[in-house]
Structures are given as C-alpha cells and as structure tokens.
Symmetry: C2
Subunit: 742 residues, 2 copies
C-alpha cells in the first residue's frame, strides 16, 4: 500500500486574513485550474485557518504530455542527445522527474501550458506552500543503510537524486567526494603532526597541492554526474525570474516576440554598489571582531584587577550578540542590493546573492584567525600599549597601580593561534552540528506543545464539568477527519509545518569548512582529521535533516554546485598566500623572550608569498591542463552515444547517396571510361597539340581549351609518362655530356 | 576570362631522384585517384625534374556531394545550426569553401572518400606541393583599396576570409582590432609623454586596463567572427594527425571501431620534459644575452683603451651571431620534444609547439630589457667591479693603468633603458618589416637569376656560333608550352617556387609586439604610437606578403587565433608585475650621484608588485564578468536562429498534440463535466462521508478511496467552500465568545 495515498503534491491554502467569499472564489479558481491541466484534486482541512488541496496526476495522458514536452524542450536545448520517444511512451523515469514535471504543471504560467499557481506570488498570496510528501520508507531505509557504511556508492547518490532531485544530489555527491578526498590529508596530516609538528613546509605544500587536485577532480566529477543524470546544459536554459522588472519592452525583429529588457550597463552600474558594500561589511564586521579581540587580550593578558574570572566572558558574549546582528543586517542589505540589481533569471539572482553572502561569511569565519596570526602575534608589543584606552573604562573600579603592574609582565601567547584554529575546526563544527540537527527538533517539539497549550487556553472559562468535552470539541471541529485518514492527515499536517530546505546553506557550510583547511591547516595539521570525522556525521545528519526536519523540496535540476565551485577555487588560492606566510613567520620557532617571533623580515615574507602564490598558480595551470584531458566514464559514454547517432545519420545519407550514385553512374562513367578505348600508343604530344589547335579554331572559351588538351585521366597519365621519360632522358643525356666534357 | 583557366589546385610532382618507371606508375595512380573522386586533371611540365598536375572540380556533381557531406558533418558536430539543404542545391558559398572542400577531396584518406594524396607524406613523397593559384585581380584590387584606408571594414575581412580561409581571416581581423584599439593608448601615451614624462603611474594603470579590455574585447570579437563565418565549434572536430603513433589499438565496445590509443599519463610524463627544456633554454639564452650585455657595458662604459670605437660592435655581432644559432638549436629540440609528445591531432601538436617556441621568443625578446631594468640599473655598482674578468682579456693589449683609471669614473647610464626600449619597439620593428617584405623579394630575384645563370653555365663550352641556339634550346626542351599557355604556365611556375605561408609566424610577431606594450610601455610612453604606425604598414605588407611572396595557402578553418590568445593574457599579466615594479623603481627620479636609483626598498617593491598584480587580477575578473554579458551581434543572430528553429519545432509538436487533444477531449471531458449536473447544494459533508463509507465496503485500494471522496473539481470546490465557511464562522464565534467573556 502506498503510504502517501498516491498524493503527488500538497497545496496549502491559508485563508486567515482573507474575506470568506474571496477565499472561496479563489479556491474554486485554483481547483478549476488544476483540473484544466489534467490534475486530480481532493480537499481536506489543514488547521483552523488553512486547508490542503491534494494533487495527483492520475490522468496519465496529461502527465505523459507534460513529460514529453519537457523532454522535447531538453532535446531542443541540447540537454538530451537523442530525440525523445513518442508521446505515448513518455513515462517519467524517476520519481524526481515525475515530481518535477508535476511541479511545473502546477506553477508554470498559463500561457506556457501550466496552471500558473505560484506559491506566495501575485494572486496566489494565500497559497503558502506547494510540496510533495516524504517517502518515509525509502528515507528510513537509506538512513539505516548508510549509518553502517563508510562511503556512499554511486547508486546511493542516484537514490538521493531520484527522490530529491539533482540539486540535492549534487550536494551529497560533493560531500561524499570531499569526504573521500579528506582521507589522504587526514592520514598525512596525522603523520606530520607526529613527526614534524606545526608549520611544516612539506605539509603545507602537500596540502595546497591536495586542494588543487581536489577542486579539479570535483570539476571532472561534476561533469561526469551531469552526464549520468542527464542535466548537462540545464543551467543555460533557466526560466525568467518572476520579480524581474524590465525597463522597457522590446519586440525582437526576427522572432516577433515581445521581451522585457533591462540594460546590462545599468545593471553593471548597480553592481558597482557591491564595492562600497564589501568595504562597509569588512569594516563593520572587522571593527566588531577586532574590538572584541582587543578587549579579550586586555582582560586575559593585561588586566589583573578584580572580577577577572567573570570579565573574560565579556568579549565572547559581545561577539555572539553582535556578529549575528551585524550579519543579519548585512544579509538584508545584500538582499536589497541583489533585488536592485534586477536579475533576469532566478539562477543569476541566486548566484549573485550567494556571492554577496560569501563575502560576509568569509569575513566572520576567517578574520579572527587572520587577526591573531598577522596582527596580534607579530605586532602585539606595539599594539598592546594602546590598549590603555580600556584602562580608562576600568579605572573607576580598580586602582591604577593594580593594572599597570600587570602590564610590564605582558608577553605574547603563541599558543593562542593554535587554540583558535582548534576552536573553529572542532568546537565550532560540533556546535554547528547541534544547532542544525538537535535544536530544530527541540524547537519543533516546543512549537507543537505551545500550539496545543494555546488551543487549550482559548477555552478555559467554561464550566468545569463540560471542560474536557468542549476541549475535545474545540480540537475536533477543525479536524473532522475520516478515521481512516486521520493518521495520514496528521502526518501531512506535521510535514506542512516543517521548514523549507535550502541546499545553499549546506553547501556554504562545506565551503567555509574547506576554507579553514586551505587557509590555516599548517597551524594545526590535525584539521583534516577533525573534518573527516565531522563530515561522516555531517552527510548522515544532513540527510536526516532533509527527511525529518524539512518539507520535502521539489526536485530541482542542476549540473554543478553552482557559484560555490568558484568560491572553493578562490579559497584555495588565498590559502597559497596565507599558509606560505604562516610557515615563513612561525616555522623557525625561535621566538624572542617576550613571545614575539624574532626575525620576520618584510621583504622575505613578501618574497615567500610571491613565490608560493605563483608556484600555486603554475601548478594549478598544469594540473588543470592535465586533468582536462581525462575523460570521466559517463562523459565518454555520452560522447560515444552522440558519435553513434551521428554515424548512423551519416551512414544513412551516404547510403542514399551511393544508391543514387549507382543509378547515375552508368550515365556518367562511360565517357570517362570510353577514352580508355582509344589506342593510347597513338597519342603523341604532337597529335595532342594538333587537337588543341583544332579546338582553338572552334572558338570556345580559351580557359576551357586548357582543359581539353588531355581527354580523361588516361590521356593525362600518358602525357605525364611522356614528359617524365623525355625529361629524365634529357637530363641523363646532359649529365653524360657534361661527363664527356670532363 | 578566368585568368586561372578554372584551375582549382596545382599538384607539383617531382621525379628528380626517382626511378623513371616508378614515377610513371605513381603518376598514373595519382591521376586515377583524382579521377575516381570526380576531379578533372591536366598535366604540364613544371621544370627539369617535376611536372604540374592541374586539378579542377569540373564534375559539379561530385563537388556538390563533397560540399553536402562536409555540411552534414558540420551540422552533426554542431558547427551549423540548420540541417543543410538538399544535395542537389549544395553549392560552395565562397571560394574558400570551394577550395577547402576540393583540398579535402584530394587529401582525405581513401576510406573516408578522398583521393588520399597527402603532399610529402607516405607513398606521396614525390608530391612536393598541392596549392591553389592566386586570384591576382582580387588581390591587387584589395591592395589598392586598402592603401588609402585607415580601417578595414568587416566586408574587407570577409574578402580575405573568402579567398584565404578563416585562419588567415582571423589573423587580419586580430591585426585590425589591435590597430583600432591602439589609437587610444597612442593618443593617451603621447599626452602622457608630453605632460608626465616616463614612468607615470596614471599611464601605467591606464595601459594595464587597456590590455585587459583589449583582450576581453578580442575574445568577444572572436566569438562574433566565428558566428559570422560559421566556424563555431570547428576546433572540437579536428582530424587525426598523420604522424600520431598509437601505443596500442583498442576496439571501442560500443561503436565497434578500432582506434589507436596513446595513454594520456605517458604523454603527460613526456610533457614534463618541457620543464628541463625551459630551464635549459632560459639558461642558454640568458647566458648569451647576459654575457654580451656585460661585454657591452664593459666596453662602452668602463673600457677606455684603444680601438674602443670598433670594439663596441663586438657584443652586437656576437648577439646577432649567437642568438639565431641558439634559437635554431632550441627550436629543433622543441620540435623533437613535440614529436616525442605524440599528439593525436595536428591542432594539438601545433598548439604545443607554439607554446614551446613562445618560451624561446619570450626570453630572446624581453630578457635584454629585463636585465637592464632589474639587474643593471639597480645593481650595476655591485656588478661592475666583477667585470674585471674582461680586463684580463684586454690586458695583453693595453696597460693596466689605462683601464683602471676609467673605472673610478664609472656611473650608471639611466638612459640606457629608454634607448633599449626604443630600439626594440621602433628600430627592430622596421628591421623586421624589411626582413619580412623586402628581403624575400630580393632573394627571389636572386634565386631566379641564379637559376638562369646555372642553366646557361651548363652549356658554355659549345662552339660560339651555336651558343645562343643551344641556350635557347636548353631552356626550351623542358618547356614545350603551347604559346597560348606560356604566360599562364610561367605564372604557375613562379607561384610554385614561392615559400609556404604560415599564419603562426605573423601571429607570433604581433603577440611579441603586444608584449613590449604590456611589459615595458611605462619606460617610454610613445611605444603605442610607434606600434600604431607600424601596424598600419604591417597589415598591408602582410597581405602583400601572402599575395606576392608566398604560395596561396589552402583555406583552413579556425574559430580563434588559437594558443596566442592565452599568450596575450599571460603577457598582460606579467605586465602588471613588471610595469608596477618599473614605476616604483624609477618614477621618483632622485637617482644617487653615481646614477643608481637611490631608495629602492625590497619590501616596498614587493608590496607594490603584490598589490598591483592582485588589483590587476581583480579588475580582470570584473571586466571579464562584465564583458561576458555583452552579446556580439552575430552571436545574438545565431542564438535567435537557433531559437526560431526550436520554436518552429516545438510549435509543430504542440499543434499535433492539440489536434489529438481535440479528438479525445470529447471522450474525456464528459465525466468531469457530468458531475456538474449533480445538484451541488445537495452535497453536504455528511453525504460525502456516507459515500466514502459505502465505497469502503466495496473493498477497493484504500489509497484510491482517498481520491474518491470528492468526484471532480466542482465537488472539491464545494467541499472547500464548506470548510472555509465552517472554520471562519467557528473562529468568528470563538472570537465573539472571547469578547463576550471580557
């Protein structure tokens, strides 16, 4: 039995703040539209102010038509290589394809043949969600299966793709590749940690090389997967973004279509606003982080007054309060900027937003360590005296002598850097895991409890005897379910309340994690070990998150992990700069008595960076050139298929050609072969000359005459042999003569 | 009248060192092969030991078939968007297409439907050339026309492409774009030269920006041209290289083809040899250049002994003797290396060779200036004392005191850098022009004279009276031409003796020139002015060279200028390093009394380079991102065409669909509409529940039951409105009640 009752999609319609009649009219329109595109619907209650419309593509004919159309479109855009089968045979091959096609049937505008119901947009503001139902059994089976496995097989990834679409599939494939690739630096890092300690040059070089190889490998892998999943080229054919505001309408002279246009120059001008945005973000976050950092140093290493035990927590509290606030502000500014940039496709919009948010993430994630490594450790002895400013704040509470005596004893704490890296790569990862997986469950539980509590509180003042009765009724009126359906409907209600899943967040997390490895791994070679462990859990917990804590996403197609690939490359490049600088600054270990690394020379540091960066770029170029020649198996398969298709086609045209050849050759060949009947021995150059002269008299085109000297190839061959004989004998005679002379 | 007598190709067959009978047999085979593929041929004498086979595609049917086949192939490989017209209508659109197709008919292996006659390869060692004849009138017309024009129009470029093919067309298009783009830096450089002098920061920044914009612009332009000339994607479909030596044969399991395979890993290992090659080349050339440089400095600025006036020429003589020798040796090593790398396609082979030769060119062209700027000027005072070694050589001829007194007066000559740049960008360009254009003409004249002289000398010892007679005869025997053809055949003989044209050399020259601009322009801001003048001449003289001094090349297709684009990008990148370093080192002008720039600090220099380079890379990224959004007109046109094709196709499928829809809709619609006949007011939730219970008894699939509660969308709508009414009234009652309570 199908636990989902054959439901393909659930549309949640909320009429909380809408006029009753308007809501009824709109619901009727919604149901009619669904019917018109060939979808079956059933209505049930959802909660006090919303209802579910269950949608099912029972009319296999219209589904088949939609599948066929989508395949034709793919074929025309070059996503598929072969012209699709007949419409009557167009069955969705995977659940993801089925769900994607039905989602398009529901949401695509009516002009394009869909029902035009776009959640929370335009006239459909009341449609709060359109989502498929989780396939609990498959999900549970996967979770059980994977918890005992080290690596996912390609078939496991196919499973994810089949139920959640290629976009999610790509995330898991990336996570899996990344995890597999981490084995090597984890093992190598562990050995280096034991044998060489921190800041080892060998480890740094190997690590940078690993980053390059991993990124290039993943590019190949992406290509391979996009062939395996038949999504190659989908990103070229993205639908228009709904919020795109064209500046003017332009009628294409050739296609006759009227198209909204927004001038690229104008968008580029608007994009220039990213520069001040980046500066403001860097300064805003930088100031917060640097200040908290300074306070922390002041309190933990200079200040010696009372309450030190409590005061050390001040910077942490400040940071955890200010950074998320500032980030939220910046993200909202970034979103506004992005809206203002007015992208034409949702894809371009998302990519641009991702890029902006990446800048914020970059600063919040890496700036603390950069400050410690490149400001605190080398320059602390110059900066610390200026921390006197904090002393002014402290003075009211503590006598001046108390603090000053402490200052003379100040020395740089070289272990701070390592501790910080461990914090970010171990502690923070664990905290993040908890926040992502455990907190939402608790939150959800709490929300349910609170809802129940609210409902109970609404009816507390009736007389005591009927309370339980009314209470029961108050819950029952909204949910007059058929007893057979209660269980199912409750499950749907639960799923409808879950959060939306966004694969971008998970990708960002991985990207930031990769950054720690690329930028700071030499500080603590165990970084990859920690990530290896973390990512084994991460893969499973992310799958758990999608299945249990989020609505099932509608299956989107993708051929890459999108703008993150570029971010990975950027991080690995920056890593070549930071890690070489770190190694130069801290590898010699002979710190001065006050903890300051003794002999950092500006020019030597810069020269190290210069060489390391250019070596990095050169190696990257070489690896890229090398890897680009390796053809992943599925790419080869696709190429072979395309080749076969071409060959079949060419052969068929050649066949028709040679058949027609045969027909006509009889009419054509004879004159050519006829001249073979002429007695060739009779042809001398003289007779030919005569022929030519004869033709001249007939007054044909003189250019044509040139071609009439030799009739057919046999005559030409004869003349050729005559010439060769004549000339060779002539030169032989000549050389004989010249010999004679001697 | 056609001055070329309708000759499409001339095949020169040389039988100098071949057995007469063998030559005759082979000639017969050659002529038969040509006949078999449908080409007409005529044989004439060429000179004492070779003859011409004139080839013409008079059989329009086989030419049409070849054109049709080439178009089908293009279409299958995505070069053309539309399926080609019928074979009977396949006419070559341009002369280049006609010549290209005929060349393929002659050279393509017999299995693939050609005659398999490949000049100087395999059994056809005696075929020394296969070339088309120049279209003198068109060429002369172009030369006349262009000599009075500043810019070539796109139509002019089309003309070049139509007669010499896309590969040559791309070179001229590049030269034209480069020339046009040079206007700006020339004007700006001239103003800077007057207002700011050398080493101006503004000029340097503008120059670097110009380089970025130019390269990105050219990329767009390339795309545009490849659409205009319909060659987009041709580089993906390159024929196998003939000299490719597969390691083993592999049978493809799917296509069933047997294919020669050479493992990529093995080739990559062989490619690693490029590293020692580069090192050796750099050291070899570097030592020569540095030594000559040191000798020059010693003689011109330290040495004060006798013969100074003559000795100053020693380094120049040494350089012009040693550098070409060394270069020739290195090029031959590079070619060997390239052969060893065993590329599969000619295209890959050429690209790899180009890259190797570019390294050599890079060193010989730029190292002298680099030495002056970054070694001589900053470090001369440290290095010059070591030049004593030369003193040892001089000592036998001159008293020690004489030289030593001079040394104390040594001071750096800061003007040397500027003079050197002027030499390379003005003098060398002019010399090069002379070498390329005037020298070959003289050489050719001389060769003709020499040939005549040789011929005369062969018969000098006959008796005086008959000398003139014999002489005439000795020239006449080999050339028994028809008097009507004499003029034409002499022209063909001349053309056959011309050199082969290779577009790579011209591209290399431009690329190296661009390098001077990118790397060293701040030294002398008039560099672009000189190049502007030079390139106006260059464009015309290169065209002259192709038309007059070279055999007409067979028209090759191309969609880019190939590996040179990468070289341009590389030079512009290196330019961001060198020019910022030059500006930092020499812009302050306060040189110490001994001519040494006073205050160069290592860290400041490196910091300048670091910032300048990263700024460059960032700007390049931004410009690239911006430019990639601009769509060149022909690309847009192509896209529109593709779109139209798709739309037509989609519309036709949709039409058939909607037609079949109409047929079946009558059978399908009724049940859906039938339920509208039911009196909806009669449907209450209760009756529905009852219906449901009834169905339950029938024991259908419980999942199906879920979908049978509401029959058709109208019932669903009815139920929906019932739910909305019920819930809203309920909540209204509730809120009323809660109000009552208050």
């Amino acid at each position: 039995m199908d636990r989902n009752n054959h439901v393909d999609y659930v549309i949640r319609y909320s009429f909380a703040d809408t006029d009753t009649q308007k809501a009824i009219d709109q619901l009727e329109r919604l149901l009619r539209r669904l019917h018109e595109v060939g979808l079956q619907s059933e209505v049930r209650e959802a909660d006090e102010s919303s209802l579910f419309v269950f949608v099912r593509a029972s009319n296999t004919k219209s589904l088949r038509h939609a599948v066929y159309q989508s395949r034709i479109r793919d074929w025309l855009h070059g996503v598929r290589n072969t012209e699709p089968e007949q419409e009557s045979e167009a069955e969705p091959q995977t659940e993801a394809e089925r769900l994607r096609v039905i989602y398009h049937m529901i949401t695509v505008p009516r002009e394009a043949g869909g029902a035009g119901i776009i959640p929370e947009y335009g006239e459909w503001k009341n449609v709060t969600a359109v989502f498929p139902l989780h396939d609990d059994e498959t999900n549970k089976e996967c979770m059980r299966d994977w918890s005992s496995k080290t690596f996912l097989t390609p078939e496991d990834l196919d499973k994810i793709r089949n139920s959640f679409g290629e976009s999610v599939g790509f995330y898991f494939a990336f996570l899996q590749s990344y995890f597999r690739f981490l084995m090597f630096p984890a093992a190598f890092g562990f050995s280096c940690w034991i044998l060489l300690g921190s800041f080892s040059t060998i480890y740094t070089v190997v690590n940078a090389l690993w980053c390059i190889v991993f990124i290039e490998y993943w590019k190949r892998q992406e290509e391979d997967l996009s062939c395996r999943w038949q999504t190659r080229g989908v990103s070229l054919n993205r639908p228009k973004r709904l919020d795109f505001k064209p500046e003017r309408e332009v009628r294409d002279a050739r296609t006759g279509e009227i198209k909204g246009v927004f001038p690229i120059g104008k968008r580029m001008q608007r994009q220039l606003l990213q520069v001040p945005f980046t500066v403001v973000a860097a300064i805003g976050l930088g100031v917060i982080i640097a200040t908290c950092f300074a306070i922390e140093i002041f309190i933990s290493e200079i200040y010696n007054g009372p309450f030190k035990g409590y005061l050390v927590f001040i910077p942490t509290i400040l940071l955890s309060a200010l950074i998320p606030t500032m980030t939220a502000v910046l993200v909202s500014v970034a979103t506004r900027l992005n809206d203002y940039e007015n992208y034409e496709t949702q894809f371009a919009y998302d990519a641009a937003l991702t890029q902006k948010i990446f800048i914020i993430n970059f600063i919040t994630s890496y700036l603390p360590i950069v400050l410690t490594a490149f400001v605190y450790l080398p320059f602390a002895s110059y900066i610390v005296p200026y921390l006197d400013v904090f002393q002014l704040t402290v003075r009211p509470f503590v006598s001046k002598e108390h603090a000053t005596t402490a200052r003379t004893k100040f020395s740089i704490n070289p272990d701070r850097l390592r501790k910080q890296v461990i914090y970010f790569t171990v502690t923070a990862q664990a905290v993040n895991f908890a926040q992502e997986t455990i907190v939402p469950i608790l939150k959800q539980r709490f929300a349910q409890k609170y809802k129940e509590y609210q409902r109970n509180r609404n009816k507390p003042v009736d007389d005591d005897s009927t309370e339980s009765e009314t209470q029961r009724k108050s819950r029952d009126i909204p949910f007059q379910d058929d007893p057979n359906e209660t269980k199912f409907l409750n499950r749907v209600r639960n799923e409808a309340d879950l959060a939306d899943y966004d694969v971008t967040d998970d990708l960002r997390e991985m990207c930031i994690q990769f950054g720690y490895l690329a930028l700071f791994a030499p500080i603590w070679p165990l970084v990859p070990v920690s990530f290896l462990v973390n990512n084994w859990v991460e893969l499973r917990s992310d799958f758990f998150k999608i299945c249990i804590e989020c609505k099932r996403p509608w299956p989107q197609r993708a051929e890459t992990i999108g703008p993150w690939l570029e971010s990975l490359g950027f991080l690995s490049w920056v890593g070549s700069i930071t890690s070489s600088a770190l190694v130069y600054m801290f590898s010699n270990n002979d710190t001065a008595p006050d903890g300051q690394p003794s002999t950092i020379k500006g020019w030597a540091l810069l020269l190290t960076i210069f060489f390391s960066e250019h070596l990095y770029l050169f190696v990257r170029y070489a690896v890229r050139a090398g890897m680009s020649k390796l053809e992943p198996p599925n790419v080869r398969k696709e190429r072979t298929e395309r080749y076969m298709m071409r060959r079949r086609y060419l052969e068929s045209t050649l066949l028709t050609r040679s058949a027609s050849d045969d027909d006509e050759s009889e009419a054509e060949q004879p004159p050519a072969d006829a001249d073979s009947g002429v007695d060739l021995s009779q042809i001398t150059r003289k007779t030919l000359e005569e022929d030519a002269r004869e033709w001249t008299r007939h007054g044909t085109d003189p250019a044509e005459k040139f071609w009439q000297r030799q009739k057919g190839w046999r005559e030409s061959a004869h003349v050729a042999s005559a010439i060769v004989r004549e000339l060779t004998s002539h030169s032989a005679k000549e050389s004989k003569e010249s010999k004679k002379e001697l």
